[in-house]
């Protein structure tokens, strides 16, 4: 979770972030005055979620505009939220895309957690190295850009962090990186195309 926050904080303008599950802070970089902002935001977002429930709606995202900064809260699942404090200079549309990507990746990590550890053991390939796979990264970013546009670079960076946290970063494990990145593609057709193109990259 710390990796997710660290990557989100690399988005221009993002000041700090927090991941909370069932009231427990899993990771947070809110300190000082920003901690008070976080507490007030959580109270407000809780009230908003209750109000939406009465309308039969689910919360997708809340943005609190504070003038000099904004608080953006995105639910991962019930009682599990990702919160960021971003300066006024932040491109909020880009931040929304990146946050939604992180949420999808967290969900995938949660749903696959037991299998991830098993696969990382069984697919280790000592005959390949980080250098081999990193040579492919610029091409993979290009392919991702075709599908999702300028957000590709940030989405890729997040995806690679997730991948490295759960797998040995080798060409043999590239399929897992492709799975992580595919979560952000719009359609099954796009996902299939992306998988085939990445496979073509490393099989020649």
């Amino acid at each position: 979770m710390r990796t997710v926050l660290r990557d989100l904080e690399s988005v221009s303008g993002v000041r700090c972030g927090c991941i909370v599950r069932d009231g427990e802070v899993l990771a947070s970089t809110f300190i000082g005055d920003s901690a008070a902002t976080l507490a007030a935001s959580r109270e407000l977002v809780g009230a908003i979620a209750e109000g939406l429930e009465l309308l039969g709606r689910e919360l997708d995202e809340v943005l609190l505009d504070l003038g000099e900064a904004s608080v953006v809260v995105v639910p991962v699942e019930e009682g599990f939220t990702l919160t960021l404090l971003a300066g006024a200079e932040t491109n909020l549309d880009l931040l929304r895309v990146v946050m939604q990507s992180s949420v999808r990746q967290i969900r995938m990590m949660l749903s696959r957690a037991p299998q991830v550890s098993a696969s990382s053991v069984s697919t280790k390939q000592p005959d390949t190295s980080d250098e081999d796979v990193e040579r492919l990264f610029p091409k993979i970013i290009e392919l991702l850009t075709v599908s999702i546009g300028p957000a590709a670079r940030v989405v890729f960076k997040h995806g690679v962090s997730m991948w490295k946290a759960s797998h040995t970063p080798t060409v043999g494990n590239l399929v897992s990186l492709v799975e992580i990145l595919s979560v952000d593609l719009a359609s099954d057709e796009d996902r299939l195309w992306f998988c085939q193109e990445v496979e073509r990259l490393h099989t020649g």
């Binding site: 008070a36 902002t37 007030a40 407000l44 939406l52 919360l59 809340v62 609190l64 504070l66």
Partner: protein, 107 residues
């Protein structure tokens, strides 16, 4: 805020409904889809008021809520009042709010 604000706001692209929440905390006027969401906007206003501009830690100016449907609920805090909006997701909220703030400045 008056009827002119509501009429002009309803003509902004992507806007489906507008509600004015008065200082009493009650919706004093509403149009379009906002009519059936009066209680929600009143609740949102009540929750937001303690955090409104210069009043507390948040100094809140605006709340934007995206739901699982094709709709965005926004509440723009204006002194003791607020303007509630229902809009479509395709319209970037930053653009929408810029249009509304210009409208409020004119009126």
């Amino acid at each position: 805020m008056n009827d002119t604000v509501i009429d002009e706001a309803m003509r902004i692209g992507g806007v489906r409904g507008v509600a004015v929440v008065g200082a009493s905390g009650k919706v004093s006027a509403a149009s379009g889809a906002a009519g059936e969401l009066s209680h929600f906007f009143e609740m949102l206003f009540a929750a937001a008021l303690p955090h409104a501009r210069d009043a507390a830690a948040l100094s809140l100016r605006r709340i934007v809520v995206r739901t699982d449907r094709d709709e965005v609920f926004s509440l723009l805090m204006e002194r003791a009042e607020a303007l509630g909006l229902v809009s479509e997701k395709w319209r970037p909220v930053t653009e929408l709010c810029a249009d509304l703030e210009a409208l409020l400045a004119r009126n």
